[in-house]
Symmetry: C2
Subunit: 366 residues, 2 copies
């Protein structure tokens, strides 16, 4: 599993997931969820009391961020240079916001000056950006967005679906107001939950919001009453997924969060070195690369689908394809969790070099 | 686990859930989801092509029904005699509908004549009811709603959260347009998925709907493009939960769907007989009882919390409490899945009789 996610999952996670299910009001469940919440605070880099896992996948986290923090008729600026930023814009549109897309070609990122320029002109209520864009492998520096946004009093939503658990998000230090993620990428668990955190400042905004969240299922105020005292019934949480996430977070804590981030950074540096020594090029520019999701340019004339097919059928290795404007132009190679080390890279490059050579020979003949 | 759900889960389900996760575009995942869809058609009693499992709990199914089939400003009539019908009304309100609650005290149900009277007067676009009301143990006859609703051309939403898998829903025969459920009650799986089915007539309505579904995550048109050809990426489905649900449905098919329904009906009849032979009374009236969720009146003067505590601490048996207007007045006892048989009842009554006698002795002394 060297795709963009789900990624490799350790046996201990599957074992934890198989523990007997308990009821939604069982004190044992709240022990589990409290432990998940503490672990998520650590990987998010936050002391936000409102930090929990929503009962849906990463996209439900995106929907929750928009439904709770974007008023109908209000202005939402989305900085977009890839697929998932556009999805935020689409959700904003559906929730009745006046959406302004500040756009760059896929693979771009934004400087603080560029952001300030847009936000001073647009004066939005809410600003959204993607921290780690899975479609391009680009990482956006959070403070380039949050500083200018807070100058005009806007709330900032950060999509951390691909970054959380593999690279620092540092929600508090970066002054991100709302962040969400998924369970199956940097956290190395099965998909099904969406880690979510809200700053006290954004929570105050939410408490003062006159409108009810249009989506009852994702209403953060109701969820706070369920996961905190008085534990008022909201929905029956997917207990087994919570067991898995707790175990995944325990594994991360055993390694040490910072050590895990460093391991991913080292594996990424080594990945880039090996790619370049093969004569290939990275797609995302240096300094803006997401360490756990590497995008590699497909050389001119090479059939990337043949390489991916070979990798899968001959070596049992799955990698991601480029899509949208990057279809056929990049490979998307996830190096994360248990595979982000020398042994994982040896496994990958042993196969990748063969498949690329085979495809290169075909390309040369043609 | 004799609560209203989650209920007892067989080991084979946990084993299936621990199979390695695959990617959201893996052909193997679509094999699994096709198999889930076929199994769900069987338990729903429908040939609806649009039958699938949503990536959220039962409440997300309710939200999807309302968000997709209730236009803002349109009229929604909810027949309510319990907690979950009120939740549908609340979701309708949040989605901007003109909600009319046709209300009876908790524990009631509606006759065809009563429904016809309300619907002829109100002429709603959409009508909603709860097939099996978990808060009261009452089952509402579907055709008492669907017949008058179709006379005025309204769409009918049926909440089958507690009934599906344990008792017939017969979506086609009952002419229900939209039905949703959960995975952890009648289907005996962990919570996390919401079985959902839509009639071709309602699907036509949806295709012609000018408004986009306000909730992107639960947009049924997008989900159809993902689960059917062209399998266009929507979100990363919680694969492990799909493995579990497929195994749960396989277990149901091995037993035979109709035989499973009969087993639950027999266990229910025997449950009622034993309750009455203890001198206790059922709460839901005969002929309107949900077979897998039994509500039993707490005798005058008995401390129901003490009985429940005793059951849990002395015998490891969990049952549900009454809540809302029924707090302290009923026990809610789930008899479903692997426990809906003579052995399950022996286990339950062996403990229940002791705890009730102990509480009765205390009540008499006091």
């Amino acid at each position: 599993m060297f795709g963009p996610g789900p990624t490799q999952i350790e046996k201990r996670i599957y074992d934890a997931m198989s523990q007997p299910v308990v009821g939604y009001a069982d004190p044992f469940f709240f022990e589990i969820s409290d432990s998940v919440r503490a672990g998520l605070r650590e990987v998010f880099g936050t002391r936000n009391p409102f930090t929990l896992a929503l009962s849906g996948t990463g996209s439900s986290g995106m929907e929750a961020a928009v439904a709770n923090f974007v008023d109908p008729g209000s202005k939402l600026v989305v900085f977009t240079a890839g697929f998932f930023a556009d999805r935020i814009a689409e959700m904003g549109r559906r929730h009745g916001a006046q959406v302004v897309r500040s756009e760059k070609p896929w693979g771009g990122s934004f400087t603080e000056a560029e952001v300030r320029d847009v936000l001073r002109r647009e004066k939005p209520q809410t600003v959204a950006f993607v921290h780690g864009e899975t479609s391009t492998g680009v990482m956006q520096a959070p403070t380039a967005i949050t500083k200018p946004a807070h100058e005009i009093g806007a709330l900032v939503i950060a999509d951390c679906v691909t970054s959380l658990g593999a690279t620092p998000v540092r929600v508090d230090e970066s002054e991100i107001d709302i962040a969400y993620s998924c369970s199956q990428k940097g956290l190395s668990c099965p998909p099904g939950l969406s880690p979510f955190t809200v700053s006290p400042r954004a929570m105050d905004w939410l408490k003062a919001r006159k409108l009810d969240c249009p989506v009852w299922y994702l209403d953060l105020k109701l969820l706070a009453e369920y996961y905190d005292q008085p534990h008022k019934y909201h929905h029956t949480a997917p207990v087994s997924s919570f067991y898995a996430l707790r175990e995944g977070l325990a594994a991360i804590q055993e390694e040490g969060v910072e050590r895990r981030f460093e391991r991913h950074a080292r594996a990424h540096a080594e990945f880039v070195r090996r790619i370049e020594s093969m004569g290939l090029q990275m797609f995302a520019p240096a300094g803006h690369r997401l360490p756990n999701l590497n995008t590699v340019r497909v050389p001119e004339g090479m059939d990337d689908a043949a390489v991916r097919r070979d990798l899968l059928t001959e070596h049992g290795i799955e990698v991601g394809a480029g899509f949208g404007p990057l279809a056929g132009k990049i490979f998307r190679i996830g190096v994360m969790g248990p595979l982000a080390n020398e042994a994982g890279l040896d496994l990958f490059f042993g196969a990748f070099e063969k498949c690329v050579q085979a495809a290169g020979a075909v390309a040369t003949k043609a």
